[in-house]
Symmetry: C2
Subunit: 338 residues, 2 copies
């Protein structure tokens, strides 16, 4: 059975990371179609030693495609997902367009990959801060029930795309000798700054990014009433999102028990040896797959509480890697379906 | 009555900021003595248009001194505080050497400055993350009782001193073209990184920095049993510490009521207008006195909870400014005491 995969948004940061991840993991495919907006089309990208031309996405783009990875903004995802589905492709969408639709599964394979056995044709890939968080929390299921979650994020600039990375660099260079210049659009410099504003503000005073983490943690863990409070902050880091997590359970989980469970769980690496000054940091995750967990400690004021620090490559587990892992986990369609 | 002030550790980042703050605030003094280790002695520093030579600290350094501001590490503070007190000086110590001594008041003037009326001769100045936090929380007293506090910090590199700032710059320059180099001592780069390790690790898995905030918030607010959990993280910012604060009270405080109280409180500036993308950021506080508070919102999962973001110049309210404010608040000693 031959398999054709398409990437829509192949020229962006996440799209290019999807390409790397597919190549590194030896994803089984017979044909790869790279798609982008007319602006991105015409370039070529390298995959497994050959150059593939990026095509402008169009009504015929998904004919014959088995799996379509989408790495585009919401309106583009909404425009092309029905087209790809109608053409028979399974769509794995990295935008937030469908994440909160009850009919669309939101998947982190380690946590709720079994939903894929129901053969959905549209699957949402989670937010870059939500994915590593649910990997960490999902692995603790069965040890105690999570009752409360308070998270503060330290999110890298690559989460805002390649233009944002250029803004960071421009700000850093300008900021070496004086105050970092504001961004081209007039918003505050990323460089030497912490910006508590990611995505747009909601009427409740939270940012959309903060609400995404709330909604997505609940949906992926299947705990629709879980109290979650998030503060999302952009920091002058290129790649790697971190989160300081305070989790309260209905019973104690000792740091050692949590570490052992995490160490035995797929997609997680425990980096937690204070005596050797070992803990997770963004500089250690770029280009790496695992979610790093460390600084694990009991809440001194609540024996049912556990505090820890989670770091992962936001372009990988937070985006491209998780999407490819979903593709890997898809049940092979019987050949007769076509 | 003439007044002589000394700064021990005058050549360091905090010492030099003390000098600026004294000058900017027109602190009333007749003589200023600048003291440092033999290594720092011999330099001159400018104050009110004249150059003052920095002297090596010695047994006679505090004779005739009314107020001694200490901006040195713990062992140096422990060595010279008794000498300065014996010479008749009131010591205001920025180290943590005496902060947890029940006999030594730990003061943030806006919150517990009334303790100074008891005429202590040794006063501790709080940690750079604790000070702005208690300014924010102290202002809300009387509206409801604080029952739980969870804080994640975003701490600038200047909190680690001027050598650390040079390490940040070296890391940034090296990191513009490739991976940022590790620090001279082999520890991880500040540049493009988040490091969940400030001060040494305690046996309980928390860092000393995290425990300082716990202990100091309790001591300054006078709430010795308050449950406080902290994650302290170094971020690649030069000046300005931020904190994401989740505070649970015994009754609701609306964001609007909190903003109004804060706006009317000394030392606080409310910067909280999401519609205009206004919120506190480190780049906006360097060289400024007020504690900025914004991103104020009700905890969506607990009507008694309030989430907010606090940013201040760690060299000012977190260190030099608070020390000078303590000095300003000291009752004038009757002349007969000498």
């Amino acid at each position: 059975m031959s398999r054709t995969l398409a990437i829509l948004g192949a020229t962006g940061l996440v799209g290019r990371t999807m390409l790397s991840v597919l190549e590194q993991r030896g994803f089984p495919l017979d044909d790869l179609r790279l798609l982008a907006s007319p602006r991105g089309a015409g370039r070529t990208l390298s995959f497994r030693g050959r150059e593939i031309a990026v095509q402008a996405v169009g009504p015929e783009s998904f004919v014959g495609v088995d799996i379509a990875l989408f790495a585009v903004k919401n309106p583009i995802a909404r425009q092309w997902a029905p087209v790809a589905q109608a053409a028979g492709a399974v769509v794995i969408d990295n935008s937030s367009a469908y994440r909160y639709d009850p009919a669309v599964p939101l998947i982190v394979p380690e946590v709720n990959g079994d939903i894929l056995d129901t053969r959905p044709t549209l699957i949402a890939n989670p937010n870059c801060s939500a994915a590593p968080l649910v990997v960490a929390l999902g692995a603790l299921r069965g040890m105690a029930t999570l009752e409360r979650l308070i998270v503060s994020t330290y999110q890298s600039v690559s989460g805002a795309g390649s233009d944002a990375l250029e803004e960071l660099d421009r700000g850093i260079r300008g900021g070496l000798e004086s105050a970092p210049p504001r961004r081209t659009d007039g918003s505050p410099a990323f460089a030497f700054n912490c910006i508590p504003h990611i995505d747009r503000f909601e009427d409740n005073g939270y940012t959309r990014e903060e609400m995404k983490v709330v909604w997505e943690v609940r949906k992926i863990l299947g705990t629709s009433e879980l109290p979650v409070t998030v503060t999302a902050v952009r920091v002058p880091v290129r790649v790697g999102h971190a989160a300081a997590v305070h989790a309260i359970f209905d019973a104690p989980i000792t740091p050692q028990a949590a570490r052992e469970r995490w160490a035995a769980s797929p997609g997680i690496e425990v980096v937690d040896d204070p005596a050797q000054a070992r803990y997770p940091m963004p500089l250690d995750v770029e280009g790496r797959d695992p979610v790093l967990i460390g600084r694990v400690r009991t809440d001194l004021c609540d024996r049912n509480g556990l505090a820890f620090f989670v770091v992962s490559d936001n372009l990988r587990k937070g985006a491209a890697l998780n999407a490819v892992q979903i593709a890997e986990r898809l049940p092979r369609a019987p050949a007769v379906v076509r």
